[in-house]
């Protein structure tokens, strides 16, 4: 059983570790700490920098962006950092305000303490600007920036009936929403003739105003506040305006813009911008060596970014620069500015603005649609020739924000009349033109162009694309898209596209499948000798293993098959990041008895495993050491469970809804069908995993249309959908056949699956396979329903053979006398792996993160991600 071991022992430090001090623990300051920890992961323990954070607010970093939700009931926990988290990560916190910095001596004064630093970071954010008008300091006047501000506003609101916000920008409207949530009669006053003047045009402002007024908030634009009026006791009584009018209010919130907090930097002699802001270069360094600035206090390229995303980019760059400056890291990345396009939800109103939203480009044209019925306004700014989109505004409906943003940022020529891009979709109507430079890798922000350029410059495989574009080195989820682009691009360049499995086999998976089937190979050695070269590799071995399993359905751990199996198949469990495994027994259709639930719980408790309900309607038990796996499975099998094949490229789960058994809308027994199908196809090895769902009516609670094959009940029978996908590129499954009885349905699925198993590429889900299938759905229908190729009898026989030869792999493993030896941790000792470290969280054990470990680890980019 894993033992908690979360007390880091302190290591002897021969020399003083480098000192990094961060002033300000706001959103960006905190992100910087995290970045430093991640990026310093590779550094030797005695060189690991000591991070000190100076925190002026009464609490550690929290999510300021969602500040207003503090008034929700219940109030969410906005904390981003915790004292324990910092302590475990070795981060020291000094509460107080940094008062003076000596950049020559490299020291900082805070609370009569002097701290010295090797690297110093200003992450001091900004403060709300309060215009210099009479009465602005009276009791009843507030700003809207910190949780403490909100607490004060809430206290004051208890004895108030009405409130007014000065400032009709983004934050002002946020604040107005908050006052309304507190039950006050609420007004917004804006100096400009419209709301959100920085982002919207007059018409957009007008649409927004109407919607906000409909919510019962008073909007007063074009008003210059001359004074906060006070009652006899000196408390706020309202506002007086320059035009002589007045407004009564018990409480005033100033939200008239923000200013960078740069006084300390100024006093320390750092270079500031003309209108404030600490000047930084592309590596986030200020004018003083070893001193950096990030977030809203920093001025980059003449610009201050009042949004959190650019701040986060700066934090990443600054962390790399700092470590580099301390001699602990490679040459740093750079910050080269950020796009200011934004999409937000204000008071429940969606607002988006992107590119040249206000149409300042010379000669530009606009197309707009103002819909007072739906309460929406959309405007597109177009180039003088009307062929390209430069920017736009969306109020009330931002569903198309991403696509339009893409079109604007990349100047893709429009292929449809621009107005069709902003009219609400007609049923079956206009679609957006294909985005030519779509975002491919969201982890590394790589777009199609960059990938195509790399291919143009000679990259010919995924590995080369990864190393020259960075795409695919994060979560790995975009690797299939990279594949697609590579193939398409090579075809376009007129080069022969190799779909060879790998360097050892000059065949595609489909060709190899046929060779193995026709020649009757039953083991790897024969396949390699006849068709391959070298010793094979991690690509072709599992692929051949899967083909052999699809064809013969033999126990995968037979000695001749064992060296072909990925660790998941070799240990019949899913490997986790710390080398332990997860265990997922099959729960067909997601239906489970109370006794079975209890049995799973008991096994988990006996072996100290972490439990989680998966997205596939079953239960995952995590943290098993390999030598426990046979014992865990012995208990599970005794309780009636069998392998769930969560580790295999094979059928996963068939999700079901309660259907006609319980649901008042259900028209057929969807649970029963899901169970029968799951038992039929369990253990079927395939090019990639297979998922399915069965819904009891068209309400589709089982999400069948997001599955490789999905079934939806109708009064007339079962409708079968194929080629759906969740995951990286969601696709809705397409209707293959309607109103089937169960027998026809099952036969059709049999053939569909077997045809896929035989013809798909390695790691190609049914969605991509179907998309690439020449002739598409009609062709598929012809092959498996009209038998146009005369294949059906063969496919049926193959599926019958699979169903007839199924055996539970875990039962087979336990019956195999070689199993205990194979699952031992060490070949020469009975001890268990002592390198594992665990942390208790929410009542369960989880693997320790690198910064929680007693020995440092090295988190680095992935190479794989094709699992």
């Amino acid at each position: 059983m894993p033992q908690p071991q979360n007390q880091p022992t302190s290591l002897p430090t021969p020399t003083r570790p480098p000192q990094i001090v961060v002033i300000g623990n706001g959103m960006v300051g905190h992100r910087l700490v995290e970045q430093l920890q991640t990026q310093a992961g590779a550094v030797a323990p005695q060189q690991t920098p000591q991070i000190t954070v100076i925190c002026e607010e009464s609490r550690l970093a929290y999510d300021r962006v969602h500040l207003s939700s503090h008034f929700d009931d219940p109030a969410p926990d906005l904390a981003l950092a915790t004292a324990e988290g910092y302590e475990q990560g070795g981060v020291r916190v000094v509460y107080g305000q940094a008062e003076a910095v000596d950049t020559a001596q490299k020291t900082i004064q805070v609370n009569d303490q002097t701290l010295s630093y090797d690297a110093l970071v200003f992450a001091t954010g900004s403060f709300p600007f309060v215009p210099p008008i009479a009465g602005r300091d009276a009791p009843g006047c507030f700003v809207y920036r910190t949780l403490d501000d909100l607490e004060q506003i809430r206290d004051a609101a208890r004895n108030a009936r009405s409130g007014v916000v000065i400032g009709g920008g983004l934050l002002g409207l946020e604040a107005a929403g908050a006052l309304q949530k507190l039950g006050l009669t609420t007004h917004v006053v804006e100096f400009a003739p419209q709301l959100m003047p920085a982002q919207l045009d007059a018409e957009g402002g007008q649409t927004l105003r109407r919607t906000i007024e409909d919510m019962g908030i008073g909007v007063h634009v074009g008003k210059s506040t001359s004074e906060v009026t006070l009652d006899d006791s000196g408390r706020v009584s309202g506002l007086a305006f320059a035009d002589g009018s007045a407004l009564e209010a018990d409480l005033v919130v100033f939200s008239a813009g923000i200013r960078p907090r740069d006084d300390l930097a100024r006093a320390s002699g750092l270079a500031l911008g003309e209108r404030g802001g600490i000047v930084i270069d592309d590596t986030c360094q200020t004018s003083a060596p070893g001193v950096y600035a990030v977030g809203e206090c920093a001025l980059h390229g003449g610009r201050i970014y009042g949004l959190v995303a650019p701040g986060y980019s700066m934090a990443k760059v600054a962390a790399a620069s700092i470590l580099h400056g301390l001699g602990l890291g490679n040459a740093p990345a750079t910050f080269t500015g950020a796009d200011l396009s934004t999409k937000l939800k204000l008071l429940g109103v969606e607002v988006g603005s992107f590119g040249d939203a206000k149409g300042v480009t010379e000669g530009c044209r606009t197309v707009s649609l103002s819909d007072n019925v739906r309460g929406t306004y959309s405007k597109l700014v177009l180039s003088a020739d009307g062929l390209r989109m430069l920017g736009g505004l969306l109020v009330g409906d931002t569903a198309r924000y991403n696509d339009l943003l893409d079109l604007a940022l990349f100047g893709t020529p429009l292929t449809v009349p621009p107005e069709t891009l902003i009219v609400p979709p007609l049923p079956g109507g206009a679609v957006l033109p294909a985005i030519t430079n779509a975002l491919i890798c969201s982890c590394e922000n790589v777009r199609a162009d960059a990938v195509c350029n790399a291919i143009g410059e000679g990259a010919r495989d995924i590995k080369a694309l990864k190393s020259c574009t960075g795409a695919g080195t994060g979560c790995g989820g975009c690797v299939p898209s990279l594949h697609g682009l590579l193939q398409g691009e090579l075809r376009r360049l007129g080069e022969t596209v190799s779909n060879h499995l790998c360097e050892h086999f000059a065949y595609s998976r489909q060709e190899l499948f046929n060779l193995i089937r026709v020649r009757g190979h039953r083991a790897w050695d024969g396949v390699l000798a006849a068709h391959g070269s070298g010793l094979g590799c991690e690509v072709c071995k599992p692929a051949v293993g899967s083909v052999l399993a699809s064809l013969h359905n033999e126990y995968v751990l037979k000695p001749q098959h064992a060296p072909l199996q990925d660790t998941n198949d070799a240990f019949l469990a899913n490997i986790q990041k710390n080398g332990t495994y997860s265990v997922m027994p099959r729960v067909p259709g997601g239906e489970i008895t109370a006794d079975s639930l209890i049995a799973i719980g008991e096994v988990a408790r006996n072996f100290g495993m972490y439990c989680k309900i998966t997205g596939g309607q079953r239960i995952d038990l995590l943290g098993a050491q390999r030598d426990d796996l046979p014992a865990i499975w012995a208990e599970l099998i005794a309780a009636g469970f069998e392998s769930g094949h969560a580790y295999g490229k094979s059928l996963r789960t068939i999700k079901s809804c309660v259907g006609s058994t319980w649901c008042r809308y259900g028209v057929q027994d969807s649970t029963g069908l899901a169970i029968r199908l799951e038992l039929r196809y369990r253990g079927l090895r395939s090019p990639h995993k297979l998922k399915s769902g069965v819904s009891g009516c068209t309400r589709e609670c089982a999400e069948a249309r997001s599955k490789d094959f999905g079934i939806i009940a109708t009064e007339a029978g079962w409708n079968l959908y194929v080629g759906g996908n969740g995951g990286v590129t969601p696709r809705h499954a397409l209707l293959l056949a309607e109103g089937l009885d169960e027998q026809t349905l099952t036969r059709t699925i049999d053939r569909y699956l077997m045809f896929y198993v035989r013809t798909a590429d390695r790691l190609q889900r049914t969605s991509a396979w179907l998309e690439g299938l020449e002739g598409g759905l009609d062709y598929l229908r012809a092959v498996i329903m009209d038998d146009s190729l005369g294949l059906c009898a063969d496919l049926d026989a193959a599926m019958d053979q699979h169903v007839g030869s199924y055996e539970d792999e875990w039962a087979a493993a336990l019956a195999d006398p070689a199993t205990p030896a194979r699952f031992r941790t060490f070949v020469n000792a009975d001890t268990r792996d002592t390198g594992l470290q665990w942390v208790e969280e929410r009542g369960q054990l989880r693997p320790a993160f690198a910064h929680e470990m007693t020995q440092g680890l090295t988190p680095l980019p992935m190479a794989g991600g094709d699992d």
């Binding site: 094979g536 991690e538 060296p563 080398g579 070949v827 094709d866």
Partner: protein, 125 residues
């Protein structure tokens, strides 16, 4: 394969330890041996035995012995043995420990030999 930890003295001689029989390692597979508290991955590939550290330097997890083995063609088009970590599929040359994905990453290697059907690993220090 010699390990030269101290360039100023002649290479220290490894002390050899028996870890298992060759028959304990299915051809093409690896096992993990615990030698002086160290986890060492021992592979049996194409008739040869190789020993490398069990710790995947990319993830810090002790998993290399569970990787898939195979071969790759080096610059001179020579077929060389390799192992791919089961976690994120980073591959390493089994003989030199050199990472095939990252020029500056390597897997420590250890001398290994087979004598009368028994596998021996050499440790220096």
């Amino acid at each position: 394969m010699t390990l030269n930890l101290n360039p100023h003295s002649s290479p220290p001689l490894p002390s050899w330890q028996r870890v298992c029989s060759l028959a304990d390692i299915l051809p093409g597979l690896g096992v993990c041996a615990l030698v002086d508290g160290r986890q060492i991955a021992v592979f049996h590939v194409a008739g040869q035995v190789y020993a490398v550290s069990n710790r995947d330097p990319f993830t810090g997890a002790d998993v290399i012995s569970r990787g898939l083995t195979g071969s790759y063609r080096d610059r001179e088009a020579k077929e060389r043995p390799k192992v791919a970590s089961p976690l994120l599929k980073h591959a390493f040359d089994l003989e030199t420990g050199q990472s095939l994905d990252h020029a500056d990453m390597t897997l420590p290697t250890y001398p290994a030999r087979v004598q009368e059907g028994e596998v021996w690993i050499g440790l220096v220090d």
